[in-house]
Amino acid sequence: MLEKALKGSKTYWMWLLALAVVFAVGFVVYLRQLEFGLGITGMSRDVTWGFYIAQFTFLVGVAASAVMLVLPYYLHDYKTFGKITVLGEFLAVASVLMCMLFIIVDLGQPMRLLNVIFYPTPNSMLFWDMIVLNGYLFLNIVIGWNVLDAERNNTAPEKWIKPLIYLSIPWAVSIHTVTAFLYCGLPGRGFWLTAVLAPRFLASAFAAGPAFLILLSFIIRRFTGFDAGTRARQTLAKIVAYAVLANLFFFLCEVFVAVYSQIPEHMSHLQYLFFGLHGHDALVPWMWSSMALMVLAVIFLIIPAARQNETTLIFSCAFVFVGTWIDKGLGMISGGFVPNPLHEVNEYIPSIPEIVITIGVYALGFLVLTLLYKVVTGVKKEVAGQG
């Protein structure tokens, strides 16, 4: 099937080339980081995880959200998702790949990465994260590829695929749960030390992922003529709406606990993010925009007329994506480090090289995604042509 990715229009090749160039630029800057050290980023002694780990966290969510398609389609035989499920699975593949790259670019000594395997340490959540992420990548590649291949040959997928599909459902939940456990089990980091972190991660993931998939399906329709179906998009949009609502609800629960209890360790991080602390307020406009975007999106997505209108649907999905990205990719990680354990405020602002490397990783992810989607649309068209 891979040959499908090798035949394409000029636009297709230009797009691939552009992504490759962006990736190459990021790679060159990464070489510089390798040589100098992580000092070229905006991270500091106090904020030791920044942009990279935040993108990692966000993308684990996007990857996990494939379950929102897999579950209705395979478990409940929800036929409407027939055309879009494989898109979700391949989005998961590209996302997990980016997650792994973000972990690697964040390491101080990437050459020693395999030490995690040579000295396995089950009491470290990072060890489990490695296992679940690799497993999830494997599951989605195998499932997506086999189901697509079967469809192409007009046969039912192989029997042994079914159990893997069922396994992939709890597995998807596990990747984001373990990722939340990286943060919420740490004593002395009041912002993350909450049982609602994993549920909240899942909620924002189930909003961001499907919203992005809706946007992608519009793009694919525009460029290849392959349409995942209006009904599929509408169902997804409803999922997005309730997931954003759940995310906002969990967030409000957190705010209530922190603010009503008035425990400084829990409250000061929220204070920093939404009002600024001791004159440090770089994230304040971002956090409020994030909230506004999510609330607006919920309103649009719940009103049927607005949801059914393609233009407002596109805007709502973009709002959700950007809103949850700010929430998780910007505020969630550095917010947990400010103020620091000694209650001093040192802010974090990503540096230019850090942003360029980040964009480079995204470019590679989109490159892989484009190739995979090219195969999907090629196969789907071929099948449609036969039928």
Binding site: L38, T41, F118, T121, N123, G135, P264, E265, P341, L342
Partner: protein
């Protein structure tokens, strides 16, 4: 407490299972030595000489009443110069890359959440030295995915293997005391006078106070203790007859963030 932790270590034997699954997934079969699991203790970092000092659990009492800013500076200099701690602020004016093993701060920063509202002037402004607490239940060790940070069985010191550390900085997020520093760049250009007896670090690894394990191994007291003019007492917390235990029996001493259950081995008389 002790017991339950030991049991936890034993269950860590399950890791073998984890390795199996993990390596299968990534298509990497480790050799038998690599699969040995956590039972294989990390190599001792410093070899004991005959006159080495021993303890079951090393601890420190800091009497802030006997400390002024000058003594604190002396302690910091003593520690940082023998341990080749780079001075990124002095050399490059870069606060973000700062590395420190011991430093002094105000009471309210050393003890956030424990600040008393109407503190005496002396306490409010007195310098309080802070360093790694060599916690008896260290969250940094729990979080480390490679056991590059580990608690030495024989004396409870929390140590680092600079050659194993992958620089993920999980331990820094896990430490509730801000005791750890990361080498954001090669430290060597920022070391004024290199001490050839102690290893310098490379970029990309974490470091922190090691309770002067290399000095204890040759029968010396920690450098900061020697420089403190008697304000710091160092000894075996497990030995009821040790000076440190006598001091703790006589004086009321507090620890940083005791509510987090890390059981710091550094005590403060305030």
């Amino acid at each position: 407490m002790e017991n339950s932790r030991r049991r936890f270590l034993k269950t860590a034997g399950f890791s073998i299972l984890g390795v199996g699954a993990g390596s299968m997934l990534i298509g990497l079969a480790p050799g038998p030595s690599e699969a040995a699991g956590p039972a294989a203790e990390t190599k001792p970092v410093f070899v004991d000489r005959p006159d080495a000092k021993h303890a079951r659990r090393w601890g420190m009492v800091i009497d802030t009443r006997g400390l002024d800013a000058r003594t604190c500076r002396k302690m910091e200099e003593a520690c940082h110069s023998i341990h080749n701690v780079p001075d990124h602020i002095g050399k490059f004016g870069n606060k973000n890359h700062e590395i420190k093993w011991i430093w002094d701060t105000e009471f309210k920063h050393a003890f956030p959440g424990q600040e008393a509202e109407f503190l005496s002037d002396r306490l409010e402004n007195a310098p309080v030295p802070v360093l790694c607490n060599h916690c008896d239940n260290p969250p940094c060790v729990r979080a480390c995915p490679t056991r590059a940070t580990f608690k030495r069985e024989k004396d409870g010191i929390v140590l680092m293997d600079f050659h194993r550390c992958i620089g993920c900085r999980f331990c820094m997020a896990a430490c509730p005391f801000g005791a750890r520093s990361f080498n954001f760049r090669d430290p060597r250009p920022a070391i004024e006078d290199e001490n050839p007896e102690f290893p310098t670090r490379m970029k990309g690894v974490v470091e922190k106070c090691n309770f002067c394990a290399e000095r204890l191994a040759v029968g010396k007291m920690p450098a900061c203790v020697e420089a403190s003019g008697g304000a710091l007492t160092f000894g075996d917390l497990n030995d009821p007859d040790s000076d440190i235990r006598k001091l703790l029996a006589d004086e009321y001493a507090i620890r940083r963030k005791p509510n987090l259950g890390t059981f710091p081995s550094v005590f403060y008389i305030v």
